[in-house]
Point group: C2
Chain length 406, copies 2
Amino acid sequence: MSKCKLIRGGVCAAKGFRAAGVAAEIKYKGRNDVALIVADEPCAVAALFTTNKVAAAPVVYDRDVVRGGRAQAILANSGCANACTGEQGMRDARLSALVTAGELGIDPKHVLVASTGVIGRPLPMDRLLDGMRLAKTALGRTAAHGLAAEKAVMTTDTRPKEACATVTIGGKKVTVGGMSKGSGMIEPNMATMLGFLTTDAAVSPAMLKRALLRAVARSFNRLVVDGDESTNDSVFLMASGKAGNSQIVRAGADFESFCAALEAVCVSLAKQMAADGEGATKFVTVTVRGAKTEKDAERAARAVAKSPLAKTSWFGRDPNWGRVLAAVGYSGADVVDCEAEVFYDSVWAFRRGEVADAAQLKRLAAVLRKDSFEVVVDLHLGSASCSIYTCDLSLDYVHINADYTT
Amino acid sequence: MSKCKLIRGGVCAAKGFRAAGVAAEIKYKGRNDVALIVADEPCAVAALFTTNKVAAAPVVYDRDVVRGGRAQAILANSGCANACTGEQGMRDARLSALVTAGELGIDPKHVLVASTGVIGRPLPMDRLLDGMRLAKTALGRTAAHGLAAEKAVMTTDTRPKEACATVTIGGKKVTVGGMSKGSGMIEPNMATMLGFLTTDAAVSPAMLKRALLRAVARSFNRLVVDGDESTNDSVFLMASGKAGNSQIVRAGADFESFCAALEAVCVSLAKQMAADGEGATKFVTVTVRGAKTEKDAERAARAVAKSPLAKTSWFGRDPNWGRVLAAVGYSGADVVDCEAEVFYDSVWAFRRGEVADAAQLKRLAAVLRKDSFEVVVDLHLGSASCSIYTCDLSLDYVHINADYTT
């Protein structure tokens, strides 16, 4: 199995894809809000969608498209989620796919749509379709084109998020690139996030789905910002096959190489999203190790990552391990408090009943001042572990979400 | 079944109880932090404790005491939780019960202890026991004595919480009184809350437990502040029997009358706690009705009450029903979004696909400006309903919890 390498790049890094992002005034003036990603030919496609029972119209629409296994273009917009919009929303999703296909001269069954933004408002179809036409004229293959597309899907994100990895498969250089948006309303199962991944690897739709499931489980689904889960989450992966490798149709070394590159891209995007959580001042990795079972490790880590009390303590630079341990305690995971240890990076705060003294608190304070650190809970009950990517809960989170209006 | 009446009063309202609250410098100077509640004679007792696997020493200690079915005194302190304190913590809990019993001249097996505050620090035993002795000299039966005790268990609470109800049972006037603390770290299963209930009804320990379980399920367990759950939650109920009713030993009209009064007290305390949630500017009742099942109604209401996005929208006075519906969608409850309706008090924001227009938004804005309102989601899928008591998520929540130091 060949080792993958992270490089700079986004959705245009892999061969066979063009992208554009333009300003169409979907909600605001003067910022990109319509993105178009177009493959030169129909691609194998896989996608994963929100598990929220209130699913937005584009999600309902795309599920059907993806079932066919092939896609060639994605039209995405920010500013309006097209969620809770009833029959009108479904008609708008269908129509925007249809018109996009017409403009691009491709099969309407190969067009996906994605929306993010405010819930309950109808898509401004005229502006969206004007934006799509403008984006079509702006399509290109450079990194700048990929970045423009990424900027068009951002909502409260403060930074664009792109990642790219290369790996050698059967002597051919394969590239996986991607971009994502999402900073609030993020939890397991990819709450309000949109992820767009492209690769030039040749992979069958079935294996593409399998690779995506695995990568998402280890990346976007390990991401917690506020524990809310949205109506619009979608992750798309298109494979153009332009790398020239012999098509991956089964498990084996080639598949593993591809999975490693895909996972590296997804993990990088997930970490960027956690670091850009709404109002976040700190990127925090919560690791629970020494758990009895994988499930225990995961639910304990998630409980800590979701705890408002733990999150505000990180914002306050307070090594409040008591709140961390309390969250583990109510997570449902097995824990014996006098056996457990809590570390911030490699500095212990609580170890088997012993509590940090003044000197130790000083060392801890230094860790808590960092922009990025790891909270580690060792349960000493087994060998399972899990890491969750998250951020602190700051005053700005409240500002942003009290002001982001209906 | 006789109707109960809410009146003013706390733990001293029922016959047979004295209380006191004093300042003992457990953590801060000049504020009450040690409370003592003493019954004239051994009482029937019932109690419920945290389900957190990291349970504080007093919780572990009290579980044993309560198994005996009788108690006569409770020593409580704020400022130190005596949690994650290992063997030392257990010794301290035992010793404080023992010394209290000695001072009061009662059976050590009839003394309960309760602590709330910072986790991981040993109890300052000298100050605690000095405080207990001082409290003993200060014991009294007036409302002021009850209030002093309540003030001694407050942590980040901004207001004391007391409630009292009377009801006639077998021709005798029965009183149930109570006090509670808790504002942050509150969720189902009574997270960091302490509740102290007294009654002069004569009730067997078994029926007392049954009544307490029912009342707590409909009050404290319907309370969500931030979704965290603490290591120290405890609700105690002592019954002196001084009302002179014939002892309640089985279900029936007398039991129902008693339950109604107890529930009224617990619901009042729960609402006071939600209204005093850390940093809360609004008391919000989330009601989900028209659910397929009770379980659906409850999990949907809880998801909304816990959603940081919904909670910040209330703080921002924004009728963002989309976030409410999104939370219902990921709660696991059955929901068909185009069938659902969302109201703020009696003003609709979303009804079966129809979205509030400008005139309607103006009406909604008036509701959102209130200090207290109800968010109602009608799922139109059945007849089950559930109400959860909660509050908004404000800038002050973050301030308080970023600053409350380890």
